[in-house]
């Protein structure tokens, strides 16, 4: 059964870009990644699913019901974490959470305490006094306190330190095991790779690829920056999988896609003084890998 289904969803904002013909479906129990650079239309799509805004054309169903016509009914079973959380002034964390819980017809107090404990959230603080990361935690608890069947997350990890991120991911996996479907939007490939089963890659308002995560994992992208002790042969790194190779004096820069061991062996042949290996941002990967296909 499909929990989310969109058919040629289109939203135009006058001249500026919205989204065009977005069609995808998310199966029950799936963790579905929604990945694309900032401004590519991820949030727009999510906001249409939540009927905060309405599509110009096309339609979307959640739990088999049209999101516009049955919005408030569908939302009983949706938990949402926006990319930026804003709350009412002068409220304590617990007051906000209780207010949030009051919209669902069940007792959520145990669940609030449980989630707050996992996320190390002080319930008696004023929300205005919280740091960005702690506000995000409020958002997480707030989005999960009614044990929703569908969890929608829009760039959920910004502001969370790595430890909290891990706890949050564990929490999501736990919810998923209990049967929750998750839509996870992000511009960071590695977190989507860690969590999701399938991804939709969105760029400039269009879905350019739907892929199983296994396929993406094969395409393990890393950005290498190396400082060598001496000048190296220009062709040393001219092997399969190396892209955007730049060599300047004793500095080497490239993006590698493929079996990490191969490149590490290759590096071990030369004398290096320093090395940085990190995730290339999505834009770089897109520019390279998907620009031809799109």
């Amino acid at each position: 059964m499909n929990v989310i289904e969109t058919n040629n969803l289109t939203k135009s904002y006058g001249k500026s870009r919205g989204i065009v013909d977005i069609s995808f479906s998310v199966k029950e129990g799936e963790i579905f990644g929604f990945i694309g650079p900032n401004g590519s239309g991820k949030s727009t799509t999510i906001r249409i699913l939540l009927s905060l805004i309405y599509p110009t054309s096309g339609s979307a169903n959640i739990f088999g019901k049209d999101v516009v016509a049955y919005g408030s009914e569908i939302k009983k079973e949706i938990g949402y974490l926006p990319s930026e959380v804003f709350y009412y002034a002068n409220m304590k964390v617990i007051e906000l959470l209780k207010y949030s819980a009051s919209f669902y017809k069940k007792d959520c107090s145990k669940r609030i305490n449980y989630l707050a404990e996992i996320m190390h959230l002080d319930l008696n603080k004023k929300i205005d006094d919280l740091s960005f990361g702690n506000k995000k935690k409020v958002g997480i608890v707030q989005g999960l306190l009614h044990e929703p069947k569908l969890i929608i997350l829009d760039e959920p990890t910004s502001g969370l330190d790595p430890l909290m991120q891990q706890k949050f991911f564990d929490l999501l996996k736990e919810e998923n095991k209990k049967g929750a479907t998750i839509l996870f939007s992000s511009h960071i490939l590695s977190e989507v790779q860690k969590l999701c089963d399938r991804v939709a890659i969105i760029k400039e308002g269009k879905i350019i690829k739907l892929e199983n995560i296994s396929a993406l994992k094969e395409n393990n992208y890393k950005r290498f920056r190396i400082e060598t002790l001496s000048k190296i042969d220009k062709n040393h790194f001219n092997i399969m999988g190396v892209n955007k190779l730049e060599i300047k004096e004793n500095r080497v820069k490239f993006i590698f896609k493929g079996n990490i061991n191969i490149i590490i062996k290759k590096i071990s042949f030369i004398e290096i003084s320093n090395i940085w290996i990190d995730e290339p941002d999505l834009e770089e990967i897109f520019m390279h890998h998907y620009s031809k296909e799109a």
Partner: protein, 265 residues
């Protein structure tokens, strides 16, 4: 019920402040009345020196300022201005505030329809306005009664406050309508207040110039004028009906536009 309670809580502090200002304004204003009467000179004689048109601008000319209720009538013109500004702001904020504070993504992803949000908030705002009117009524009655000599003022007072209440309702609904149509939540409140000030200005122009008499239909400030109530004419059924029509249209428009448009996130 939860939205209603939350809204009442959020509006409590402003309500207290508005209440205090209104009581201060009534007692301050009527204190002037005491000062004039104690000075021994007749206020009416003093005012005779001033040009009639100037008095008209301030709406003073049609009141008997030697009586407490007459003096209060002048004060009332400004009281109603303040009370309606409060109402129009509350009305606009029903819709604009969530968008301004960016809490839209909190409230509207809850299992609650936009119509229900508006309805709950309208009731909360209505209760706020009623409370402010009760405060205004009690303060007005007690203070005016204190200076009053021999006139029966209760009926006039009730009618004045009723008129003020209906005018507030009109502006509350206009405020909500403006915010529901407006795409910019920050501009919504100021636009609504702008509309209010323009209609207030029109009511002053009508005071100055008899030829503009017919414009009275477009400014709610003229619907339940203090001068006609105090002079015993009471409230005009035409204007009561007109008020209800404006309120109904504004409300219908508010629900319609707000349900149809994209929320600002």
């Amino acid at each position: 019920m939860n939205i209603f309670t939350r809204e009442m809580k959020a509006n409590r502090k402003p309500l207290i402040l508005w209440g205090i200002s209104i009581v201060a304004m009534i007692s301050g204003g009527m204190g002037k009345f005491a000062a004039y009467t104690n000075s021994g000179e007749s206020i009416n004689d003093m005012l005779d020196i001033l040009p009639k048109s100037l008095l008209n601008v301030y709406g003073i000319s049609s009141f008997d300022l030697s009586t407490a209720i007459g003096f209060y009538g002048v004060l009332f013109l400004y009281l109603i201005l303040i009370a309606t500004v409060y109402a129009v702001m509350l009305g606009a904020n029903i819709i604009a505030k969530e968008e301004k504070d960016k809490t839209t993504e909190f409230l509207f992803v809850k299992p609650v329809s936009r119509s229900k949000v508006i309805t709950s908030k309208l009731f909360a705002v209505l209760l706020n306005i009623i409370i402010l009117n009760i405060v205004t009524f009690i303060a007005s009655f007690v203070i005016v009664n204190h200076f009053n000599v021999g006139n029966a003022i209760l009926t006039d007072m009730i009618m004045l406050i009723m008129g003020m209440f209906i005018t507030q309702l009109i502006f509350m609904c206009i405020g909500a309508l403006v915010a529901s149509v407006s795409k910019n939540p920050k501009a919504a409140t100021s636009t609504a207040i702008g509309i209010l000030l323009i209609t207030f200005m029109i009511s002053m122009l009508i005071n100055m110039n008899d030829k503009l008499e017919n414009l009275k239909y477009i400014t709610p400030f003229k619907y339940f004028g203090a001068e006609s109530i105090i002079s015993g004419k009471g409230m005009d059924l035409v204007f009561i009906t007109l008020s209800m029509v404006i309120i109904a249209i504004s409300l219908a428009g508010t629900y319609r536009f707000y349900n149809k448009r994209d929320l600002r996130v």
